[in-house]
Amino acid sequence: MKETGYEYQIVRGFAFSALFWLIVGLLVGLWISVEMFTPALNLTPWLSFGRLRVVHTNGLGLGFGLAGIFATSYYMLQRLTRTPLPFPGLARAHLYLFNAAIALAALSLFAGFSTTKEYAELEWPLDIGVVILWVMFAVNVFAILIKRQEKQMYISLWYIIAMTVTVAVLYIVNNLEIPVTWNKSYSIYAGANDANVQWWYGHNIVGFIFTVPVLAMFYYFLPKASGLPIYSHRLSIVSFWALIFAYLWTGAHHLMLTPLPEWIQTVAIAFSIFLIAPSWGSVVNGYYTLQGNWDQMRSNYLVKFFILGVTFYGLQTIQGPTQGLRTLNAFFHYTDWVVGHVHMGTMGWVAMVISASFYYMIPRITGTQLYSIRLANLHFWLILVGQLLWTITMWIGGIQQGAMWKATSPDGSLMYDFLDSVTSLYPYYRLRFAAGVVYFAGILVFAWNLIMTVRQKPAEAEA
């Protein structure tokens, strides 16, 4: 089972880092979800909602998301190129520095050092740290691709390359800022330009962290887990180029009906609609891969995760462009509908695909069997039910709030105070918290299952 020279310690280190930050990030999420209906939980300045929300988003986006991406990328890169990691020492330093940076990032956000630009809140010294970390990763990515033993680059490698290049561009351009002190800086862009740069970044960082590398995992681990080749290579080529081309035009759908020039908004709407095609290209490719083998949904516990995951990706990529339409956006924007939308992607698509990728990968790199398939199934059902309950609750809450903001009396005056629209959401917030607890329980099962897997004796001993 173990090939000589492959560096798997780093893979394992990043995988368990991802698990750790996932649990921390979700705990913060649970805490702020209670703050939404129990403001007494804002016990101290650093526990207040305004500061904690960014600890939640950064902890999960950077801590869990990136660590999961690094773990699976280091694995896929070595397997798909049939080449050991060229610079294992650099990768080890990458792992340690990454965790130190995430810990410092969390502390700095607790302390209120924030640029306020969404998913780019870290202040300038940490921005420099993030860039260094990214370069450390990129060196190994390109070195292994250049030294590779396998001539053709498989689909997953395209997505890893696109992520490596694009995230660098996005992060640097959006974080250009002038330092005032060591923990305070101002953006170099003003007003509408700053908004435009920010949402070009905000939309695409989600695209190139929560879509592109997760598609890399999907294209690699689904065929591996199912033993079935990807349905269409040609479809994957078309989907890839169309996706990375169209994504970058769409950021302004986050700024619908704001003072941003209207043409930028309209271009964003058009490209958002177009984006349905390449997104569904991957969804369809996944579905057709299972053609004639749908019994694996019952017999193969990993396939469930991938297929449900990609289904949420498909729903997400229809819902997104739809709520970006000007008329619908006027109703849904700024409500919890959008919060529900984001969480279907993260709790459904991203977490399910990373979960299954880890289940496939960890036993193989440690030479063991998965501790318990039964627990993996329990994990699946808990996060599925938790996520569905979570997002549907938020969609209904969003519709309710949007309707209350819009409602007018026959004389043309507003029917509801703003506060009415807030208090009417409290039942939904309670239900959302309950859904979050179910989801969190599923994640604990996941963590337990992986910990027990690596604590077993290697499988050779049994055989």
Partner: protein, 223 residues
């Protein structure tokens, strides 16, 4: 087969592909003055308002409050005149927000007296029993740090001299500590005795909130 076996070419090509949309929708607008127009009506923040804005950012207020009124009938009814691009010429970063857990604040300046803000921030539930806003009374217990105020306004290019910055800080302190200050009672009720003759973080925050939308409201009032 072609680019799928040439990683460097592939990376360069990917970069080119992602840069097309980026250049057209982000870089080109940066070079167009019409994206972020300036207006003589809209004045930069004073040093104290800017400090207040930095506290607003530190506390993450933008996570729950937007600062853009959209051109929709009910929105204008609720908040006032819709937001114009000129108003944000001095906003670095922008603080438009993405979620309204609380109401929009782009037109909050002048809507309530300072006293309302002191009491509301000290204890939002005291004013609105079912509100879910966190309390911010502790801002009144922290003396405003003005060490970097001048440097901040210079970095942002507001064009104030160091003297002017000191005058702005002094003017605000004089205003809120004067016996004749119309919100004195509320301010004293939330500010510890030792800080009553100084500027607190809450004073700066309220100065900032009272500035929001004011430049647009005043020319309208004159019409």
């Amino acid at each position: 087969m072609g680019i799928y076996s040439k990683p460097v070419v592939f990376a360069v090509l990917s970069a080119a592909v992602i840069l097309i949309g980026t250049v057209v929708t982000v870089f080109v607008p940066l070079l167009m003055p019409s994206t972020q127009p300036v207006s003589a009506w809209v004045k930069p923040y004073t040093a104290v308002e800017l400090e207040g804005r930095d506290i607003y950012m530190r506390e993450g207020c933008q996570n729950c409050h937007t600062q853009t009124v959209r051109p929709l009938r009910t929105e204008v009814l609720r908040y006032g005149e819709y937001s114009k691009p000129e108003e944000f010429a001095f906003d670095r970063p922008f603080l438009w927000g993405s979620r309204r857990t609380g109401p929009d604040l782009n037109r909050v300046g002048g809507k309530y007296p300072d006293a309302w803000h002191y009491l509301h921030m000290q204890n939002p539930q005291g004013m609105f029993g079912k509100s879910n806003m966190p309390p911010y009374g502790w801002l009144a217990e922290k003396k405003l740090d003005v060490t970097h105020s001048f440097r901040k306004t210079s970095v942002l290019g507001y064009g104030y001299s160091e003297q002017e910055v000191l005058q702005q800080i002094d003017a605000c302190r004089t205003k809120v500590t004067a016996p004749a200050y119309d919100s004195r009672k509320a301010r004293n009720s939330v500010t510890p005795e030792a800080l009553r003759n100084d500027l607190t973080e809450m004073d700066a925050m309220i100065a900032y909130l009272q500035k929001l939308g004011k430049d647009v409201k005043s020319p309208e009032a004159k019409n």
